[in-house]
Amino acid sequence: MKDFTNENFINILFFFGLFLLIYALNIFMGTAIFERIVTNLFIYIILVVGLQVFMGNSGILSFAHIGYMSIGAYCSGIFSIPVKMKSMALPDLYYFIQITTFDPIICIFIGGIFAAIVAAVLTLPLMRLNDAAAVITSFAVLMVIHSIVVGWSAVTNGPRTFFGVPKATTLELAMIFSFAAVIIAFLYKNSRFGLLLRATRDNEVAAESIGANTVYLRWFAVIVSAFLAGIAGGLWGHFITSFSPKSFYLRETFLVISMIIIGGSFTVTGAIAGALFVTIGYEFLRWIEKVIKFSDAIKFEFIGLTEIFLSITMIVFLVTKPKGLFPFLEIGEIIKKKFFKKG
């Protein structure tokens, strides 16, 4: 018990180093494509680490995460589009939003907070459900958010592309936010809330007998988780600048779930490793798709290969390594075991 802070420190230090290394690698590579990939990676890390906060500690799979991301992205976008642009991009927008614009950084926070509020309101009664019912309701939450985003044309431009979001996300910004997300996840995991929630994950009845309130613990985790998803959505919105409801649907859900499954949902390290692993694999396969396409070797369009590989990898992982690459120990604990426990 006594070295929790200590372990947090090693973990956080490790990822600080890793992030700096990635940053240095980017400067070394110096290409725009690489910078785009790395920025995306950092955003995905926020997203997956956010999912880990809920899923890893509660043990419940959530399909709703990308829904919270979309709230963050749209919310942040709406408040940050310049006033002149708004009348063009969203002519039917309510007057009071129409005339206000904030700095994108503030808007990203607004997006995160708004996503957290929506999650808080929607999910409190759902937190007592377990197993299949819990997963299906989380899926239903995704559907509800998605269809509201599609339907609420005045604010979201409906199913059409939402455009005019100012470009504000740089690699540095994404990295800083990503690092903050990692710190939050570690602090949460080893906090009283995190410990109790993990106790309910392992044995709900026993945990409740020592005073854990499963519903509120899960609820709190969802709120933190949705906040991070909203932040990730805002960052992504200010990076890509135009998107549509389709950008936040089953494909993306599949992607984050594959990251957390491959990495291991029980550890923050696993979530980050999953994001890293899948991003590298994804970009590599994309590159292969392109090479094949341009080599004229095969005459038809080569899309979908990436997802096929990803789904096979996921099934293989669930069969052979169901708890992912980092099933129980965080990187800090692994390092400690290797280097310090010898004596």
């Binding site: 043990g59 299949a132 979908g304 099934i315 669930l318 069969v319």
Partner: protein, 294 residues
Amino acid sequence: MMLQFIVDVLSLGSMYALFALGLVLVYGILKLVNFAYGELILVIGYSIFLLKGSPFPWFFMSFIAIIMCIFTSIATDYVAFRPVREKSVTAVLITSFAFATLLQNAALLLISAKPKNVPMPSFLSDSVQFLGVITPVRNLISIFVAVVCLFIFFQFMKRSLLGLAMRASATNFNMARMLGIPANLVITTAFALSGLLAGIAGTLWMSKISMVFPGIGLEPLLIAFIATVIGGMRSIQGAVLGGFILAFIDMSFNYLLPQDILKFRDAFTFSFVILILLIRPEGLIRGPATGART
């Protein structure tokens, strides 16, 4: 007007009921949700599409398509269910989700992202008029096919030994096995029947929209989900009832709601699903008394 509404609800509901029944069959036995269920419709659509140039009559093509559907359903068991069945509910949800993604992207990769036309006999779209109701032939055929299928299905579950074994397994799988009922036979039968029902419903679905694209499975999957949640996840009668209730809700929305609120239909239906799961998690019709996962 009233009669028109009833015919519309019945024809839509008969399709929904078959979809829901196929999903609940597997859930009933294994207490596990098959996320790849919607992809059976994809298989139906592309099978008929790929057979388009063949000299076979249409009925034979759809027959082969349904067979393909049954095979895919059984394959789902072997790929997504069997390897992880013992591990956790979540694992199966994810593997079946992954299998669904796999099939969709295979269609994307090997065929095309664009919708493809699925041939349908032209008489299906002819409209008929009776008692002041105007409706395409396919709607009446949907009702007829569903009634026949449901009748045969429930007779099978009631009269045949295998049907009884299925019902017993849905109540208490371990006990059924202790009576010598082979687990694998029951599970394979459940997946095969699930594929058959989805195949028939999928053919009816195709006759309505006449096209197929990689993402086609989502809507039927959602329909089956909602219908089973409404009717009761563990009850086969409940699934059928849920299908008709969902069709009634959908049609009422279509008839009553103005266009700009209709856009939020899905939000309403899914909120409804969440509500039902909260208030009455066992659905309108309670399933067999025990439902422990095995």
